[in-house]
């Protein structure tokens, strides 16, 4: 069904804001930690910088149950099909955070085997710079993602990057 024809009115905007509010406050991350950023990602979950304050503490190692893919660490050409498959297994709506220099741009690993930025293969919503970023960097990225989710419209209900 083509939902793009739906005109927004009072009902749709109210439902939209309710759905967006619940979505942004219950992001379930799927961690894809392939390097040192994965260890820093664990620190985000710990008590000191408690990601549960943003409702994103339910880490699921099953892509079918999660809606936020956090790519933490360098992705090699051999690993990319795995990441792509995990991304495709996640149900819509889904968002991607590219954490750290290696995942976002390749970082120091400008070599034949390392992907120079995962956004060449999968859509990325938030880039978090750092090597690795501080836990606050991830929380800042998460808050920026929540702002992005807030603005989603019922008329383009599917993810802006998907067909």
């Amino acid at each position: 069904m083509d939902r793009r024809g739906i005109k927004s009115n009072f009902l749709t905007t109210t439902v939209e804001s309710a759905i967006n509010w619940s979505r942004k406050n219950s992001l379930w991350p799927m961690p894809f930690g392939t390097a040192c950023c994965g260890v820093e990602l664990m620190a985000v979950l710990a008590a000191r910088s408690d990601i549960a304050r943003f409702g994103a503490e339910a880490i699921r190692f099953s892509p079918r149950q999660s809606d936020l893919l956090i790519v933490a660490g360098r992705i090699t050409i051999k690993m990319m099909p795995v990441l792509q498959r995990i991304y495709e297994q996640m149900p819509e709506p889904k968002w991607v955070i590219s954490m750290g220099a290696c995942a976002s741009s390749g970082g120091v690993f400008d070599t034949y085997s390392v992907i120079q930025g995962i956004d060449q293969f999968i859509p990325v919503d938030i880039y978090v710079p750092g090597c690795p970023p501080r836990p606050e960097g991830i929380l800042d990225g998460l808050m920026k993602l929540q702002k992005l989710i807030e603005k989603e419209k019922i008329s383009d209900y599917s993810h802006p990057h998907s067909n």
């Binding site: 008590a47 220099a101 991830i138 992005l148």
Partner: protein, 167 residues
Amino acid sequence: MATVVTSYEPTFWDKLYIPALFQGLMLTLKHMFKKKVTIQYPDEKHVPPEGYRGLHRLNKYPDGRIRCVACEMCAAACPAHCIHIVPGPSPWEEGKERYPVRFDIDLLRCIFCGFCEMACPEKAIELTEIYDFADYSREGLWIDKAGLLEIYELTKDKNFYDNSNEE
């Protein structure tokens, strides 16, 4: 020779699980009155110590001239090759002849090692304490000369996260 292992036989009280339950609840209760470790991030920000390596800045002389002379030592020292400099003749009469026409840093490629800071003979490039700067696009994390000078204005007088002077 085999050793005989005698396992612990649970008593009646152990089987009730009630003492164990209260033991656990006591521990929870004890932690409720302890000092909280969580930093309430957006409201309360960790103040990094002196020497923290975060976002870059380009220093200026007190009269407003840029310290950088575009020698490209930082770009040569950078292990990630994230600094891009276009040198040109300085627009100012006094001081050095060269200055950077463009000074771009790809923050996504940067690994914040501080080699640029160490390599700089003019103490022009420095790493500040700013650590939270996620963005929506790769272009948004490409900082140019104007951005770097803006960071200098933000951080030259005090720690970026230190709000102790403000009322």
